[in-house]
């Protein structure tokens, strides 16, 4: 009978792997994803780097005013062109004609004002307001009778150096390194999280749909003359899991090779973050979460009569898998928050969230073990329950089953 499970595993694995969609996703997805990220980085850098852009700012400040020189010098220091004009109407027209980004006007009553029809261009708007703020601040300080050095120290106070504490190594990482490390961790954690969550959803849906196909095409009657329902379920889960692992490991290998071959210095620290321990822990969490999710979807497939019925029932489970995605913002900001903590203990959710947290912060060992314990026990129980539901649901046709029927079967 074991060899029959092997036959089901082999068939289900090849059934997925031999499809064009799988092959395209296997090879193209990492390149599309990598290309997408590279394009995003490129365009972000392009939009941030405005040193070469020609920026013209209008200025209407009387040359006699004490603000004139510091403001004009600060703007010139940015490499921006200054267009001086005493007629505010002309400056306004030039701005509306897109020949100026905006203009600064000084009025003894209103003070300094900045006018632009492009206030949403925060780079320019913030720079101007910052310049004016600094000029005003230093003027106020000078009026107190302080010398230049004192003014400079007041305007540029020393900041605190930040160090990352570690029980294993001495504190050497300074602020710049810590920030860079955080960035890489966030990227790695997010990639792991998204990869796990998406794979869990995609492949467990495949198991559910495969069971539904068996039921709706009536081939299940033929299959069950050769294998027991539990064996069929096991074979399906293992076969589709194998396809899922093939896809994930291929993506990870392509990613690892790309990172190794690339000269991006920022990525050199990845191997320090993704230690073998994290790989192993993530794989185990994913594996059990995957079995739990696929078992649930298989039972949904067995309960369903049509694709619509399947979609309706599975929408409840998708919420469980995808819930952490909705909270990704706050979780990424503080992976040790109560929200992140609680969600990383909930089975299936923990499969994608706990690896993320472990990559981001030092999660206490007891939390990892407790979360894994909960996942292990719930996976075992879910498989047992799903087998029961599967056995009952798969052979009963012509009726849409609901959760009421499940309780009847589980009695």
């Amino acid at each position: 009978m074991k060899s029959k499970i092997k036959q089901v595993v082999k068939f289900e694995f090849l059934r997925i792997v031999k499809t064009k969609g799988f092959i395209i996703a296997l090879i193209l997805a990492p390149f599309l994803m990598g290309g997408g990220i590279a394009a995003l980085i490129y365009f972000t850098e392009q939009s941030n780097d405005r040193t070469t852009e020609e920026i013209s700012i209008g200025v209407k400040i009387p040359a006699s005013d004490s603000l004139y020189i510091p403001i004009v010098s600060a703007i010139s220091a940015k490499g921006w062109t200054i267009v001086e004009n005493s007629d505010a109407g002309e400056l306004r027209q030039l701005t509306l004609d897109n020949r100026l980004k905006g203009y600064i006007e000084y009025d003894s009553v209103k003070g300094v004002s900045y006018y632009s029809d492009k206030l949403a261009d925060l780079y320019i708007t913030n720079t101007i307001t910052q310049i004016v703020q600094n000029v005003n601040r230093s003027r106020e300080i000078r009026q107190l009778g302080l010398d230049e050095e004192q003014v400079s120290r007041l305007l540029n106070p020393e900041s605190a150096s930040t160090y990352k504490l570690s029980s294993e190594t001495s504190e050497t990482a300074e602020a710049a390194n810590a920030n860079a490390e955080y960035g890489i961790k966030l990227a790695c954690g997010t990639v792991f999280f998204m990869l796990f969550a998406m794979s869990l959803m995609m492949f467990s849906l495949s198991v559910g749909r495969s069971v539904l196909e068996d039921k709706s095409t009536k081939i299940v009657d033929v299959l069950l003359t050769s294998v027991k329902p539990e064996q069929l379920l096991t074979g399906k889960i293992l076969g589709i899991s194998a396809a899922s692992f093939l896809q994930m490991s291929t993506w990870i290998i392509i990613g690892a090779v790309s990172v190794t071959c690339s000269n991006v210095s920022a990525l050199s620290g990845i191997s320090d973050i993704l230690t073998p321990g994290i790989w192993a822990m993530s794989a185990v969490f994913f594996l059990f979460g995957f079995f739990a999710a696929t078992a649930v979807y298989a039972s949904i497939g067995a309960m369903s009569e049509t694709e619509q019925h399947f979609n309706r029932l599975s929408s409840y489970v998708i919420w469980i898998i995808m819930l952490p995605c909705f909270f990704m913002g706050p979780i990424a900001q503080n992976p040790d928050s109560t929200l992140a903590n609680v969600l990383s203990f909930i089975p299936i959710m923990s499969s994608s969230l706990m690896p993320f947290r472990v990559i981001m912060v030092d999660v206490p060992v007891w939390q990892i073990l407790t979360s894994f314990g909960i996942l292990l026990i719930s996976t075992f129980l879910l498989i047992k329950l799903s087998a029961k539901i599967f056995r009952n649901g798969i052979m009963q046709q012509g009726k849409e089953f609901g959760f009421k029927d499940i309780f009847k079967w589980l009695k």
């Binding site: 060899s3 029959k4 036959q7 059934r15 196909e213 009536k218 033929v222």
Partner: protein
């Protein structure tokens, strides 16, 4: 030999199969017939080991059913099911491997059977490229290619053209001569009448008929005489034993009353016809068709069941 001994299967409070017993022997085609909802599907699933009986035993060669026995069974379900996106050869390979066949043997059998049914050129085509009849032949091949000892065919001829039906029938007869137990389920009584050696009819989960076609006909006897005549046949109305006459062109179908002596009746009909100048060119005592037996027994058992249910309801009330 396949034996069902006092099999009962309940779905909650509903009894789908009720104390069913029968024996199916090697080299025989056994027809399992019954109206819709009679319990046929449940019986088939019990024999196929898809469902477990609540009580009773299923024996194969005198031994209780074991998991390994699943390889001895071939099944062609009424509602055909194959993976549409799979190639014909992959589909057959998978189903054969689940029946414990070795890889080399599978390849030989696939080629052999596809060639036999003229489907060799479709070997590497996807199932959804096949016509309904072709898919049916593929499913039939999957049911028999592992040389099962017990073959269950549920409506094997539905959707097949006459040539394909004959082809399939030929194979079924070959399997019979090879000593396989062939169980056959159909709603087409004419087909069952031609193919089956033995008929088992169930209704409301109970066996209501069990025997060879000849035994059943003998048991249910004849109640009609058919004559082919020219001239007035009004004389038939004057014969006491005649219950009714139905005209079918030249033919008259004469139903006679229960207990009537068929030989005396025939003599009386011939004499009266002669007296009334009616020329009879043929006269025969009709053999009851399986169809008419099926209809009458089903109606009878349905009536009994309704009465029983009414009585039960009256008691409950």
């Amino acid at each position: 030999m396949l034996q069902l001994k006092n099999i009962t299967k309940n779905y909650g409070s509903f009894r789908a199969v009720d104390d069913l017993s029968f024996t199916a022997e090697e080299g025989k085609i056994i027809g399992l017939i019954g109206p819709n909802g009679a319990g046929k599907s449940t019986t088939i699933r019990l024999i196929m080991n898809i469902l477990q009986p609540d009580s009773g035993q299923i024996l194969i060669n005198g031994e209780p059913y074991k998991d390994e026995d699943s390889d001895l069974i071939g099944y062609l379900p009424e509602e055909r099911g194959l993976y549409k996106k799979q190639k014909v050869s992959d589909m057959l390979r998978y189903l054969a491997s689940l029946k414990g066949m070795k890889a080399e043997e599978i390849e030989t059998q696939i080629d052999l059977w596809l060639s036999r049914f003229g489907l060799s050129k479709w070997k590497n085509e996807k199932i959804d490229a096949l016509s309904k009849g072709m898919s049916q032949k593929i499913q039939f091949i999957s049911a028999i290619m592992h040389s099962p000892k017990i073959i269950f065919l549920d409506e094997p001829f539905s959707g097949l053209d006459p040539v394909s039906s004959d082809e399939l029938l030929k194979v079924i007869k070959e399997l019979k001569t090879q000593g396989r137990i062939i169980m056959f389920s159909t709603h087409v009584m004419e087909t069952a009448e031609i193919i089956c050696d033995h008929i088992i009819m169930i209704n409301h989960g109970k066996k209501i008929l069990d025997g060879t076609i000849q035994d059943i006909r003998k048991k249910y006897g004849s109640d009609t005489i058919t004559i082919d005549c020219t001239g007035s046949h009004s004389f038939l109305e004057g014969i006491d034993s005649v219950a009714g006459v139905t005209e079918r062109g030249h033919e008259l179908n004469i139903a006679f009353k229960p207990g009537a002596d068929v030989n005396s009746l025939m003599r009386e009909i011939v004499n009266k016809a002669y007296e009334n100048q009616c020329v009879i060119s043929s006269l025969k005592v009709d053999q009851p068709s399986l169809h008419s037996i099926f209809v009458s027994i089903a109606a009878q058992t349905d009536g009994q069941n309704t009465t029983q249910n009414t009585s039960e309801n009256e008691i409950k009330n």
